[in-house]
Symmetry: C2
Subunit: 222 residues, 2 copies
Amino acid sequence: MATPAEKHLYPIVNTDVALFTLIDMQLRVLLIRRANRPDPGGWALPGGIIKPEIDHSLEDAARRMLVAKTAVNVPHLEQVMTYSGPHRDPRGWSVSVLFFALLPSDQVSAVAGSKTEATDWANPEKPGRRLSFDHDQMRVAALTALRTKVEHGALPLHLLPARFTLTDVQRACEAIMGRAIDKSSFRRQMKTARDLVPVAGAFVRGAQRPAQVYRAAAGFAF
Amino acid sequence: MATPAEKHLYPIVNTDVALFTLIDMQLRVLLIRRANRPDPGGWALPGGIIKPEIDHSLEDAARRMLVAKTAVNVPHLEQVMTYSGPHRDPRGWSVSVLFFALLPSDQVSAVAGSKTEATDWANPEKPGRRLSFDHDQMRVAALTALRTKVEHGALPLHLLPARFTLTDVQRACEAIMGRAIDKSSFRRQMKTARDLVPVAGAFVRGAQRPAQVYRAAAGFAF
DNA sequence: GCAATAGTGTCTATTAGACAATATGGG
DNA sequence: CCCATATTGTCTAATAGACACTATTGC
């Protein structure tokens, strides 16, 4: 442990992650009930203090902690903002790098909370409880960052299984944006999107006209 | 000083700033010739290690270091990205929070380099030299962040004196974007911009029709 | 046939770019 | 008057939203 004097010289550095997924085509964010100090029992975004001896970067650290807390590895992790100050964490002057991450909807069941920490997939707009530290501010910032990307045309394919229909993509965008999107306009945009590749001969069938199945293009980046 | 073991437990945390201004209506970024280790003699963005005992946030730290190195206080400072890793700084595992800042063009002459460090206002697209550490990557990221904001309609009024003409704003945007902008389209947008307030009766005169003088609206935020 | 959803077409309002035209000063 | 730049107007192409229409299946 560092002495108090050293605490003044070296801030605590940690990462926090807003892990988004789709459950029943509704956008959800993962919250974890804290087992340890500070604020035991409080709900917070998953995160923790980085370990320079094993982490090669902040992204690596965030991914390591997500694997530790959820047992899943996410396909997309993206920096949102860095928070700082002497009082945001009761342990002292701290720096926290916030990421958002996307988890495919078909991997939600693979998420396992650790034995000492309960988990909850909360509505990111109305989580229904206050979050520890400044994590409410982080939640809003992460949601805004995600929406901004989708607003500007990025396709949230990492929230979907490997194969999906255009309707799936539209539902995902609607869940993120929190509003309905016109089908015709949306598909017009999809036609010019090079990220989508139709899977020849693959259709989703049901009590309606079959829907073309797509996959993400090779080299797709959210 | 921390021992090597402590260095492994606590990363170095520092801030770096890409300080932009306009010189002869050309976009420039401030580089500082490093006086100390590591990489003495190298050119880099101004920055340094934060001091938790005096800094209340990373923004404060970045501002403090800018004042120390340039003797000017900037009207706008904005977070771009946080860089990290064990090798980006030879002193060990480090975290660096990058900001960009805007300096009004009429305050360039107030910038004073310290006695031990030379300064240069470089072209941010082609600085003409390699930068220390990962600062070339930072330079590109800061320029991109600035351009993205202006592309999306933000007015870079913090680069201009308190009073300016619409042509000044257009020239500033052109300098940032690196391309010509159509006068008519630009002014159409300005008409709907609530950030601009015409100064009644104030005109810039010359060998042509007088130009209306504007100021930033109260509460203007870049 | 009917329900349900996939996929397409059409109209319109808005917007950005190109470019022309006009306005108003100094000299 | 002439020059230079401010300011405005016009035309057009591209785009997004609203909404209607057609297509293809299971039952």
